[in-house]
């Protein structure tokens, strides 16, 4: 294996391949080590979660009382729960839900953050003050508490959870976008645009947002990870996704009562959360390198 590698490296073909990889966008993305680790962690999980319904496994809600409390085996790789439901199938369904919640909440926070944050940075002191008072108040609640509060008001359910998590993340996104936008105000190209009497809207769309979007996307990756953790915590506390619909959090909660005799019910879904979170951690590193123009050769 090692000699083959050296031989390949010596031949010119290898160098050419690497050059190709570096120049194409996708190649540049995947030649980053962080992104490779991210794909290694999230790739299989995403694919499995998306194709779960066509896999030859029991339906997530199908009860099979004869097979209850089966430990992990070939037939049930993740074991079964107290009602004989297949935990692989339930975990994958939970994962799909988690991925959706993470994506949706992060996108909402990102969009609102960019729009409101830019407004705070460019629409004058009054608007800035008003926005910062609201964000300050929202940030004076611990994140999980804010999420719990919003869910308590709106009731459980997927949409409600997405909104609750987005509400908690948005003030942070607004603050970041505001400070990024403020930092751009004194740049020479901004002065040039203003001197050329470019309309404000044009300046914002052409100069401000493109120059702030990269760090915003990086934090959005982390928001997605936090959202998945928040949903799991909520459902674990019994305030999130209501059983029997499976979510990674309520699967862990469900296994609590059988911890001693059926350890797999709680532990495996919990590990899945960690795998996704580790993957997203590396993805945010990789995306940061990828979007940073200084890293481009």
């Amino acid at each position: 294996m090692a000699t083959a590698g050296i031989a390949l490296r010596r031949s010119g073909a290898w160098v050419e391949t690497v050059k190709d990889l570096r120049t194409s966008t996708a190649g540049r993305f995947f030649s980053n080590r962080s992104n490779q680790i991210a794909v290694l962690f999230i790739g299989p999980v995403v694919v499995l979660a998306l194709i779960a319904q066509w896999l030859p496994i029991q339906e997530p809600l199908e009860i099979n009382i004869v097979d209850r409390f089966q430990s992990p085996s070939l037939g049930h790789p993740f074991g079964t729960d107290g009602l004989g439901r297949d935990l692989l199938s339930r975990t994958l369904a939970g994962l799909r839900l988690s991925l959706w919640i993470g994506f949706a909440a992060a996108m909402i926070a990102l969009t609102l953050g960019v729009i409101i944050g830019t407004m705070a940075g460019f629409m004058g002191r009054g608007v800035d003050r008003a926005i910062s008072v609201v964000t300050d108040v929202m940030l004076s609640f611990p994140t999980l508490l804010l999420v719990i509060g919003v869910v308590a008001v709106m009731g459980p359910g997927v949409t409600q959870i997405i909104i609750a998590i987005a509400v908690a993340d948005t003030p942070r996104a607004i603050r970041l976008q505001r400070s990024l936008a403020m930092g751009l105000r004194s740049r020479p190209y901004m002065d040039a645009a203003r001197l050329a009497s470019a309309p404000t809207r044009w300046i914002l769309v052409r100069h401000v947002i493109p120059n702030t979007i990269a760090p915003m996307i990086v934090v959005a990756t982390l928001y997605a990870s936090n959202a998945i953790q928040a949903e799991a915590a909520l459902s674990f506390l019994g305030l999130g996704i209501v059983p029997p619909e499976p979510s990674l959090g309520n699967l862990v909660a469900d296994g609590r009562n059988y911890l001693q005799n059926a350890w797999w019910i709680s532990t495996i879904p919990g590990l899945c959360i960690a795998i996704v979170a580790i993957g997203l951690h590396f993805l945010s590193d990789g995306v940061r390198d990828f979007l940073d123009p200084r890293q481009r050769s």
Binding site: V137, P142, L145, V252, W263, L271, H281
Partner: protein
Amino acid sequence: MSTYLAKRGGVMIPTIIGIVTVVFLMVRALPGDPVVFLLGDEGAVGAEALEIMREQLGLTDSIPVQYVRYVAKTLTFDLGNSLLSGVPVVELLKNAIPITLAVAAASVVFSVLVAVPLGALAAYWRTQGKDSLDQGLTWFAIIADALPGFWIALVMLLVFSLHLGWFPVSGTIEWTDPWQVFTRLALPVVVLGIAQLASIARVTRTAVLDALQDDYVRTARSLGTPELTILFRHALRNSMLPVITVLGLSFGRLLGGTIITENVFSLPGMGTLLVQGISGRDYTVAQGVVLVYAFLFISVNLITDVLYTRIDPRVKLEA
């Protein structure tokens, strides 16, 4: 100092008003009629009973009147009675707050005691060309951050309480019996500590690594000061500021963590009270707990800012 505190406190006033308003509105925005929930619907108890209850709870007045009354009551530490048990919320909080604070504070102490020396050693060994501890810490940080707190808590419970039987699974907390308090709080403290350990160790490591390159370290070395003295007395001391920053910043997460950990280890703290309040629709209880959490949170932010100036005389006092 006192003018700084006054200024900084002044900035908090709009935030406090905001918090009280949000908490008030939170309960008004709840769906459903709390009176119907408490007594059953009209058919079961009759419209008259519902009306009396509504009167008692002050729900017949207009929203602004209710708001003013709520603010006035809150200012005099009257948070109402629990809708379910009738016990004053303040009484419930009196029992719950010490537990949450004890667990949170102990976990901070635990994580600092473990993480700071670890981070310092990692930095020191790195300057000696050995970076295995450094890399180990990086991976530990990633994994500790990724594993959900409730999962770590459950696994600890499974291993140390259920299998090894070292710690009790449940039971009340008698503050007069230190050993009982210790066995009951040890696992939750460690679980909460792990979440902070990683980031504290990483920050210490970076700060110490920076400090080891400073002039005073070279001076100390040239005077023949032992390496460990340089590391722990000079470099580490000057690296505490970022550690305090991280502790302050992660306090929100710590509070969130207490909600979950108390739940797993059935500790009767504020987190348990909150979850019970929300799932039992005991709104006054939930409202009171949220208020206390928010106040704790902003107070700690203030304390962190003040500590800053005490520890590093270079930080200017500007509100």
